[in-house]
Symmetry: C2
C-alpha cells in the first residue's frame, strides 16, 4: 500500500459506562467507524485515504474523536451524520470542517 | 492537552503466531511501546510529543511499525534499541532516521 494523501485516526477507547473521563466507545465511535468504512467502500477511497483505529487520542470528554493528518486537525463529537461532510469538504475538498474542529485548549 | 509537535502511532495489531500476514504484536511491538513510554517519562517528553497505540497500519510484514506525523514517516522493523535514536534524531533533532524508514512501495 502507498502512503495516503490523508490519514484518519478514529479513537476506539473504551472505559465502560459511567466512567468520569468518558470514552469514545461510550459516546458512539462504532457508528462513526461503520459509516466511514461504508462511505470509503462505496466511493472507492481506500488507498487514496487511510483509516486507522486507535487507542486514546486525548480529548475524551469531546468524543467521538477523529484526527486527520498531515494537517493535525482533531474533530470532536463526530456523529455518523458528519462523515459524508468530512469526506466531501476535508478529504476531497481540502478544507477542514470548522464546526467539528476542537479548540486549541482541547488539543 | 495541547496539539503535539510530533505524533507517534505505534501499531499493536495481533494476528496470532504463524499467521501468513504476520503482525506487529508477533514481531515485538510491546517492547517498543514499553521503551517509548520509559524514555518519554524519563525525559519528560509527554505533551510535547504524543504516543498513540493503533490497530493495523498496513506494512504488516515489516513490523513493528511506528508512524510519525505530521511528516508521515513510516518506520519498519523497529526494535527497542532504536527508540532512543528515533527520539534523539527525529523527534528532537528533526531529521527522520533513514535506515528505519520504509521504502515508498511499502507505504
Amino acid at each position: 500500500m502507498a502512503k495516503p494523501e490523508k490519514h484518519l485516526f478514529v479513537c476506539n477507547q473504551n472505559r465502560g459506562p459511567g466512567h468520569p473521563r468518558g470514552s469514545c466507545t461510550q459516546s458512539g465511535c462504532a457508528s462513526v467507524m461503520d459509516e466511514l468504512m461504508f462511505e470509503f467502500q462505496k466511493r472507492d477511497l481506500m488507498g487514496k485515504f487511510q483509516i486507522t483505529v486507535t487507542g486514546c487520542l486525548g480529548p475524551c470528554g469531546s468524543g467521538p474523536s477523529v484526527l486527520v493528518y498531515p494537517e493535525g486537525v482533531m474533530y470532536g463529537r463526530v456523529g455518523k451524520e458528519d462523515v459524508a461532510t468530512i469526506i466531501d469538504e476535508h478529504l476531497i475538498g481540502g478544507k477542514p470542517v470548522e464546526r467539528l474542529t476542537l479548540p486549541a485548549e482541547l488539543w
